[in-house]
Amino acid sequence: MALSSTIRTRSGNAYDLRSLALDLAIFAIATAGTWAAQEWDRPRTAVLVYVLGVMIVGGRSGLARGIAAGVVASLIYNFFLSEPRFELVVTSLDEAIPLIAFNISAVLSGAMAGRLKDSVSLARIAEARNAHLLRLSDGLQRAISVGDVLGISRASLPFDQVLGLDIFLLRSELLFPADGAGPPIGAAQLLADEARRGASTVCALNGSAGQLGFVRFLLEETASPGRRPDLQGIANILGLAVDRCLLLDRLSETEAQRKSEDLKAAILSSVSHDLRTPLTAIEAAATSLRSFDQRLSPKDRADMLATISEQCGKLNRYTANLLDMGRIQAGIPAYQFVEVDVVEILGVVLASLREAYPAQEIAKQITVDSAVVQANPAMLEQVIFNLAENAILHGASERPVFLVLTRVGEAVVLEVVDFGPGIPRDEQRLVFDKFYRSHATSHRDGNGLGLHIANGFVEAFGGRIAIVSPHFGQRGTRLVVELPLAHPSEVPQERIGTWE
């Protein structure tokens, strides 16, 4: 009967009162009927009417109220209605039989009604619990972390005398609260807590590869201790969800680990190649000069010294690239940006390009007097230098590299154009990856960082880089950098560009 109160409508108390009033009314009518029959000297009818009344009460309201009706009926009948009146005596079997009949019929009708009621309410409870489990497992489909599992399952409470729940995950012999509230505890402590608190039940949380931890259900004080099996059902559903989330976690961890391993391998291979190659050349030239200085021709000496200097330049650019890669990885805060004129920076880059690649023809077409963007000046310089250097290294050396600066709408557009073999379509989205080197040109100079850095910086400035390749028959690459202007509303001062 404890269960029948577990699923109770909100109007339950009012309903109980009405039911009691109705029982009293039935009992009163039966009493009145018995009294009338007795007055008209129909004792058998009187007893039958009373038995009927008690049965109706028992059948309507269950065993307890039926017995109460039977006992009260016995007393009233014996005291008021049967001879001798106003005395509680049973002198003959004739007098005893009605009393026994009242009580037996009360017990029988009450017990049957009670059983029926109990099975109806049991069925209702089972149905409600099933619906709850279904809703819960539906909700848990969405969970992708243990935190989600906890949130979704807590949101379904309170339900069915369960007020709250905690999930503890077992890691290295300790139980960690899944919501991160509180320090880890031992399993023995959790079970001891349960015994002490009384109103909680601890169930095992099982996954595909063994126990994951425990679920602790906080129950109403009145909850029966026999709840364990159905709570274990909830725990099993939670176990499945937690298991899935932990697997997901492990999967993404493995993925992240794999990526970082890949990056480490790429850095190591890049460092060993791109640092060692210039170092080897420098070491060879320097030791030759030291050991054979007198025996070398002046031209050889000059060549070796030039090699040392050039290779130092390469090392310098490479370390700058590695540092830049680190900056991109760490994130570039926009508050460091200032107004920079792309025209000015392009002038700086042209000077360093002509110094670093004196043999390369570089043509420019600048159709604006100024193009002010929000950027870091040194990074913008690096972007243009890297793109132009990429064009020089991968272009056709006998053809010029073109730098074109124009204004398009609210953006300034820099195009870096070469007439090399171009970038195959399937490689185009890969060239901005760290350490990516085209298979076609991997033997050439370059460290696979230039475009990655250019792209990272341009994105930090709020711009983008596009690749057009081939752009000239079957050849050539055009890298198009678009940067938003800092003052797009200003009227551009167009001027006539000339190829030089």
């Binding site: 130092c312 460091q336 200032v338 004129d341 000015e344 920076i345 002010v372 040194a378």
Partner: protein, 225 residues
């Protein structure tokens, strides 16, 4: 010149000393901030080459103290990309900088610019180089002998650049020179520099005379005769 090299890497001193000696300079090496201040107190240096990454202090912090101890010109040795650091050092009183790693020619050019400026310390009336001559009192500018008309603002900017010929002049200094306000809009400065370049440069988009020092300022690339 008497040069104090403040750098904790002995290889730098080893590499620089012979060339600087051959150019007629005397070089003393200090390998810490404390050593630098001590040397500056004792010696009468004309130039300090200051590495900012010292073992016992941030190089920027000793610029002010060095300025109190000596009249020497201070040239910062700093890494590329650290524009904010350079600007801070220049605001603290440093006169110029060289990006590390540097070639000896670049360093010698900075030293020459510093030496020339010290020789002309008594505010000269004129700037005269091969191509460019500027008369500060008569506001007259000639490029390859041909007179160039400049607006007063353009002239004010060119004058500061000429007085620091070969050395970097920060945006801040130029804004003060042109607008008497270090917080004036940098856009004015860029516009006037662009105008100056159009009048003085063969190709304003690839300047040879007024060089851009990204994020720091501008530098006049020619020295007075």
């Amino acid at each position: 010149m008497k040069i104090l090299l403040v750098d904790d890497e002995p290889a730098i001193a080893t590499a620089l000393a012979p060339v600087l000696l051959s150019q007629g300079h005397a070089i003393t090496n200090a390998d810490s901030a404390a050593g630098a201040l001590q040397a500056a107190e004792q010696g009468d240096f004309e130039l300090v080459l200051l590495d900012l990454g010292l073992p016992d202090a941030d190089g920027i912090e000793i610029i002010g103290k060095l300025k109190q101890l000596t009249e020497a010109t201070i040239i910062i040795l700093s890494a590329r990309h650290l524009e904010a650091e350079k600007v801070r050092a220049l605001d603290e009183g440093a006169d110029d900088y060289v990006n590390k790693p540097f070639g000896i020619e670049e360093l010698l050019a900075r030293i020459r610019a510093a030496a020339r400026r010290r020789e002309n310390a008594a505010t000269p009336q004129k700037f005269v180089s091969d191509q460019l001559s500027v008369d500060f009192t008569r506001h007259e500018v000639r490029l390859m002998g041909e007179e160039i008309k400049l607006s007063p603002k353009e002239f004010a900017l060119l004058e500061v650049l000429c007085r620091h010929a070969g050395q970097v002049v920060t945006h801040r200094k130029l804004l003060i020179a042109g607008w008497s306000d270090p917080h004036a809009d940098g856009q004015y400065l860029r516009s006037y520099v662009a105008l100056l370049r159009q009048k003085l440069e063969e190709d304003a988009s690839e300047p040879q005379l007024i060089l851009t020092e990204p994020g720091v300022g501008y530098r006049l690339a020619v020295l007075p005769l």
